[in-house]
Subunit: 274 residues, 2 copies
């Protein structure tokens, strides 16, 4: 016990592991997978996940290139749940519903196991994303951790068209996993959006435009000069394995390291690149 | 599969179960365990948990009765983590440090199992509280779910005196379980406090009083005329068992009920009493 404690005290902290991770332990966020969204509350950068929801990501890119989010609004903030925003209404016909990209074959993904029990599946990480998998069905899916971005839909499962998006701003609503399309995650700027006033109506919707926060514009980073650049830690790297262990065995303030961590408390490190 | 689906569609929703729960399925929040905190952002009601942290709760009651929180301030809001507030500084000597009430014997608690895997222990509910237990040590402890209230401390584990409190406003930081004293939970009014601007300094502290939100006053409900009254669902009741099952097998919007739920997504029902 004394020796274990000594080992823990000598072990680098999660922050030190991140700071010391070599260049090979990081992957760049591709500019075509990076949305830059400017709102009345600030700028939010979102990494898209075409490996998990290719049709949704393609539709969102199309909406962005068409300027459909410019002049849109944040229409809903529900406490301990989501902030949700909408493009301007479609000019004519309703967009074709997208396929229900709620899970995908696990084959083709290099999944690093979390190594701790999970109520919703077998938790892990794939290419920098928090995921869960079910070996019985051979499928894997993105997990609804804090900051993950999904596509709003109505009750019929195929009605989402990518024009209404949400980001998780509370305890991970993992019951939504495999029930809605996750398409990415916020990589910067969630704070002022998570701090927006909660909407007064059912499910946190705002009463009307006066309460909503305007979206000035949304662009793909590939279309913006001097766009910010981000790197995500490679969740297959030795640095991430060390980081994961450090998150489960915190030191300093902690008198009793948990020895494990749930999926969403192993926040995948993301850094800005100068 | 068809039959299972039919059974799920016929099953009452979690909201219906809560609405239909008989009076015996509820327990009142004792007025001596209920703090009414008025701040510049609104009113927050907090239920204290003397069964888990008796010395801390007694110290907090003493501070409240002495008016020490009146004129205090919300000093820290860290995104996806906590809102934290502090009493006015003690007039003279530093208060005696409190014992480390981080866990207690499981004996004497009627624990209803969650019935799903948990990364941090064996999860369940006791007398209306989310808890975890370790059968090896025979101990149980309150879990850091959304809205739970704890006592800030410095690095030495015995420095908390109850004059600095925090509420969880993000994904459950369960790694704090057994590392800090949880003393209760917010039962009403967390929304405007969770929506406060995040602090600009390290760990979300505000830069100074100009950024902070003032605490007007804090009283025990037992000392307030016409104080609000709350009831918590008895987590040993048949209604709660039904509710827990419904939370794991959501219907309506959900195309694939998870079949399980993590501890903090089975939010214990609380209602106001007219």
């Amino acid at each position: 016990m004394i020796l274990l404690l000594a080992a823990l005290l000598a072990a680098p902290t999660a922050a030190e592991i991140v700071a010391d991770a070599p260049p090979a332990a990081w992957r760049a966020v591709a500019p075509d997978n990076l949305l830059i969204m400017e709102t009345g509350a600030g700028t939010m950068a979102i990494e898209l996940a075409p490996d998990f929801a290719p049709a949704h990501v393609a539709a969102i890119r199309d909406l962005v290139r068409a300027g459909r989010f410019d002049g849109g609004a944040i229409v809903r903030v529900q406490d301990n749940y989501v902030v949700q925003w909408a493009a301007r209404p479609a000019p004519a016909t309703k967009a074709k519903p997208l396929p229900a990209e709620y899970e995908r074959p696990a084959t083709g993904l290099a999944i690093t196991p979390l190594g701790a029990p999970d109520a919703y599946g077998e938790a892990g990480f794939a290419n920098g994303w928090p995921v869960a998998q079910d070996r019985a069905t051979g499928t894997a899916w993105l997990a609804h951790c804090y900051g993950m971005v999904g596509v709003g839909r109505d009750n019929p499962p195929d009605t989402g068209d990518g024009s209404e998006l949400y980001a998780v701003i509370g305890h991970a609503p993992r019951h939504l996993d495999r029930n809605i399309a996750l398409v990415g995650r916020v990589v910067a700027g969630i704070e002022p959006h998570a701090a927006l006033p909660r909407g007064s109506e059912t499910m946190g919707f705002y009463k009307g435009p006066a309460q909503q926060t305007a979206i000035t514009r949304v662009r793909l980073a590939s279309a913006v000069a001097d766009a910010p650049r981000f790197e995500v830690m490679d969740t297959g790297s030795a640095s991430f394995a060390e980081y994961k262990t450090a998150r489960a065995n915190r030191t300093g303030f902690f008198v009793r390291p948990a020895g494990a961590s749930d999926l969403c408390n192993v926040v995948v490190p993301i850094r800005t690149v100068k």
